[in-house]
Amino acid sequence: MRTTARLLTGTAVSVAAIGVFTAPLAHAGDFATLEVYPSSASPGTTVTVNTTACGKHGRGVGDANSLGAGEFQLNPSTHKEVVVGQFTVPQHTKPGTYGISVACDNGKTARGDLTVKHRPPSGHVPTGVGGSIGPDTAQVTAGAAVLAAAAVGGAWLLRRRASGAQGH
């Protein structure tokens, strides 16, 4: 029991400590959450963002300049209290994570991240034409040299044998 109590106290202290350190950060920007769907997209994909930050019947302007998609409008959606906007990921956007922000008419700001991933290649890669394929000229040359040496040796042997026969 005692250990549990101590553990709990310890946890409470840690949580409090984290609270102390993170609270100012959370307050600094006062950003609301911007939902980005899909959160990972390839060039050409239409991305939809929404937030509750702009309030009922609110409007806002989205900023997707970080990935070269410019600004876009956010309008009230069929869901109450949510504004929705869309933009398209440009073809030239490099892979990476980009911050998207929305400035609401009511002065509030929302932020979210979009990860841009390009579609992977497909199919085989044409990486050869066959120019390396052919006879092994070095080996053929070596073989020819061995044959030539054998011919010379054979001729020499025959001549010696012939002269030996004469001698006897």
């Binding site: 579609r119 290649p121 044409p126 990486t127 390396s132 394929i133 073989g143 044959l147």
Partner: protein, 206 residues
């Protein structure tokens, strides 16, 4: 006795010479990975934990010490049909990487490709099919670090049966693929019949 043994010596030399000429006249093709290098043949040499992925940074040079590969790396995009572009064929010692994808050493699947040969003869990845499990692939990056990968497998796929997901699919650790042509050559059927693909994962950083 000496005359007879010399005669035998010459006969052997003639046989060796004939064999060399005959065998050498047959076409030499790029090395083909053996079945033992495939995933199906069993686990790779380095089955221990992979190294932590690096932040993204472009590759500048690729080396495979065991087969003597040492080449600069250029960026590649996609062709109109969605296939990976290839480096210019005129440069026989140049590799390419898919620059809209994962950078080698970062989390994901980095894709590298290069020619097995060009019209003049062997090119940068001629020896890729001779790679074995446990061999190293080293990539120098623009951030000054070198990503060291170990080869997990070397496989061959027919062109019309290329496993996109297996080769290009995402990975939750830092992986690499090195691709070149192979799998038999047929002038009639339009050249190389497939691709050799070396699979690797990050095991160290220098």
């Amino acid at each position: 006795m000496s005359g007879r043994s010399k005669g035998w010596g010459i006969a052997v030399a003639v046989c060796v010479g004939l064999w060399l000429v005959q065998n050498g006249s047959e076409d030499v093709t790029p090395p083909v990975p053996s079945a033992a290098q495939a995933f199906a043949a069993g686990p790779a040499v380095h089955t221990d934990a992979a190294a932590d992925p690096l932040p993204p940074s472009e590759p500048v040079r690729l080396r495979i010490p065991e087969t003597g590969v040492d080449a600069p790396v250029t960026g590649l995009g996609l062709a109109a049909n969605g296939a990976l572009d290839v480096p210019p064929a005129a440069d026989r010692n140049l590799a390419g990487w898919y620059e809209d994808g994962t950078t080698p050493g970062a989390k994901g699947t980095a894709i590298v490709a290069g020619h097995v040969d060009n019209a003049e003869g062997p090119a940068v990845f001629y020896t890729l099919g001779a790679l074995k499990k446990g061999h190293r692939i080293e990539v120098d990056r623009r951030d000054g670090r070198t990503a060291v990968f170990t080869v997990d497998a070397v496989e061959v796929y027919a062109n019309e049966d290329f496993p996109d997901e297996k080769v290009y699919g995402e990975a939750d650790r830092a992986e690499i693929r090195v691709i070149t042509c192979g799998g038999g050559f047929s002038e009639k059927a339009g050249g190389y019949q497939g691709n050799v693909v070396a699979f690797g994962h990050l095991i160290g950083v220098r």
